[in-house]
């Protein structure tokens, strides 16, 4: 009995039945239009390039599905706690520098553009453009991380840490001794040095392939430090500023320029308390749960805005902030690794119109990372 199959037309059903895997290593000319002979880029168990491409792409979309659900847990936590303690989010988002967030959004959007362009270049076999675009994407990713490092190190320095480690924010609090930014820069600095050596080496041996790989790597290393510099400028360069929280959270619309976020936080939180008190529900807590009822000490009673400025409230916000942005940053780093792998492959001129699946799939992944940031930015930085 003959049944119409989804992929019946024009294809030999089992092209190479007798061959075992080792026998498949056919001579690769990189332009395998011949369906009866498996070129090296076509895995032995696939019938043709399109089947391989479709499989890879469906696999990648399914992986993105798992990524979306993976992040959904944290979004759920965000929504639940925002819903429960809105005043905490008002207080805390004043500590986040929306300029840095906006710059990072721009950087990521630009990297998405270059990535999409890279996919186009791989389909058209424009190797130079492909390597350039992948390099640009890598550079943007590094710059994103550079800005993020400034943001993180600044917060760690003044004790804006997750959960249990949160330090209540007080005016004129002493700065931490540790310079977290330098610590974060150690690994990128080492890597940049290695890339520099590699680039010099590639020039010495005059290998076009190695130059193509080393160039983007070196640029991305430098981009990280460009990001750090940019971040420092936007952070106001006020690491030696007068008070811990910095003076970045201007809110001109509220009419008090250069307002201390603490003062602002107090105002908004008090407002929230007054508003909700009418409904007979007090959202105000002295500290966390029942286990914590010895936690408030004499010193802490002097802290401004102690109702939300504590581990159970603001600390929880920063837990969610670090979890979301941290997991996102891990994804950026993972993306950088696979893009590096692509640059190597692209430099070997492996991609063409029949085989560009890896570029396309990494592109999909990269856009998803962008996609998630598109939501993270307003949720964490903008909505107050």
């Amino acid at each position: 009995m003959k049944i119409e199959s989804p992929r019946q037309q024009g294809r030999h059903p089992f092209p190479k039945f007798q061959k075992t895997m080792t026998e498949v290593a056919a001579p690769a000319d990189g332009h395998g239009h011949d369906h009866h002979d498996h070129p090296s880029w076509l895995a032995h168990h696939f019938d043709d390039a399109e089947q391989q491409y479709d499989s890879g792409k469906l696999g990648m979309w399914l992986f993105l599905v798992t990524e979306v659900l993976f992040f959904s847990g944290m979004f759920c936590a965000y929504v639940l706690y925002r819903n429960r303690n809105p005043e905490v989010f008002e207080f805390c988002s004043a500590f986040l520098n929306e300029k840095l967030g906006a710059i990072n959004t721009g950087v990521l959007l630009f990297s998405s553009l270059t990535m999409a362009w890279a996919v186009r270049a791989s389909q058209l076999k424009q190797t130079k453009i492909l390597v350039g675009m992948l390099g640009a994407t890598l550079g943007c990713a590094a710059m994103f991380l550079g800005v993020k490092s400034v943001e993180y190190s600044h917060k760690w320095g003044i004790g804006l840490l997750p959960g249990r480690y949160y330090v209540a924010q007080v005016e004129n609090a002493p700065h931490a001794e540790t310079n977290y930014l330098q610590m974060l820069c150690v690994i990128p600095a080492i890597l940049s040095a290695v890339f520099l050596l590699y680039y010099v080496y590639s020039l010495v041996i005059a290998s076009k392939f190695h130059q193509r790989v080393a160039g983007p790597l070196l640029v991305s290393g430098l981009c990280f430090f460009a990001g750090v510099g940019l971040g420092n400028i936007l952070e106001g360069g006020e690491h030696h500023d007068e008070h811990g929280a910095g003076s970045h959270a201007h809110d001109d619309a509220h009419g008090h320029a250069h307002a201390d976020p603490l003062v602002q936080g107090v105002a908004t939180a008090e407002k929230a308390t007054v508003e909700t008190a009418d409904e007979g529900i007090s959202f105000v807590k002295t500290s966390g749960g029942p286990v914590n009822d010895v936690a408030v000490t004499k010193e802490e009673e002097g802290i401004p805005n102690s109702k939300v400025n504590n581990q159970g409230m603001a600390g929880l916000f920063f837990s969610i902030y670090y979890c979301m942005t941290g997991v996102h940053a891990v994804h950026i780093i993972g993306g950088m690794l696979v893009i590096t792998w692509l640059i190597v492959k692209a430099s070997r001129e492996e991609f063409h119109s029949e085989y560009f699946g890896p570029v396309d799939n990494v592109g999909l992944y990269w856009h998803l990372v962008d996609f998630i940031w598109i939501y993270l930015f307003p949720l964490l930085y903008l909505i107050t």
């Binding site: 749960g289 029942p290 286990v291 009822d293 010895v294």
Partner: protein, 328 residues
Amino acid sequence: MNSLILADISEGFWFPPAASTFAKQVDFLYYAILWISIIFFIPIVIAMIYFMVKYRQRPGYKGSPEALHNTPLEITWTVVPSFIAIWIFWEGAVGYLDMAIIPDDTVDVAVYAAKWNWNFKYKENGAESPILYLPIDKDIKLTMQSKDVLHSFFIPAFRAKRDVVPGRYHYLWFHPTREGVFDLFCTEYCGDNHSTMITKVQVLSDEKYKAKLAELVKEPEDIVERGKWLYERKACKGCHYAGTEGAKGPGPSYNGSWGKKVPLANGTEVTFDENYVKTSILNPMEAARKGYETASAMPSYKGQLKDEQIDALIAFIRSLESGPARPK
């Protein structure tokens, strides 16, 4: 006492004795589902065995290999169970609403769950007890709170259960209909001694209940007795042994240390005396013993014990040195 605890099988094979108004609805639905299940199950098994025998592979017999398909039959066995399922859901939801909607005018008892003790506090006169005493034929409302991890309050005879969640108030109500002593279990896993977090609930006639509450608020006169009385009621007993030398519970044993140097978690040593005991009660974190680093799990009793109560506890712990007698 023991004869009271042992359940009476003669009251029914499946359920423990029914002692609250919930039992009627729960037991009815249970038996209804039981019979529905049996009515489904028996024909399935009979059909299975019949087919096994009748159509078994044997010489001289060959069944039909054709696949069958019977739409009316399939629709029937989809639709009929659906209606039954809807009925079961409905009955269950009605019963649940009855359990969820708390009536006005209740006898209020606060339930404090902590590893691995129950403590009950009565609104009438502020009495506290580790056994739950209830008057018969009254609506009882429990307001429950956990001091550490999840617990679950369960009285099988009342068919009443509700988790006790730290950081939340949970409520439970029921209406006891029969005098007697029943088991009260913790059914949410809560750590090492989860299975010992058992106590009793005693349903009393109105007069006896009143008398019991009055008796409960009276602390013993003798200071050592009073310490022991507090030890048993203030959730010390769950973690700290008082009797067996060197017995290691979740918390350090009270025995064999009085007046001696004991090592602390932070590496220093301290003399086990009045001061140390007092610090341990009020600020357990500060005095955590070596080997019991997570003694942070012990809540502070600051504000929960009066000074003279702490003194009584100290006297009790001190008394253990002279004549060890493990309180049962």
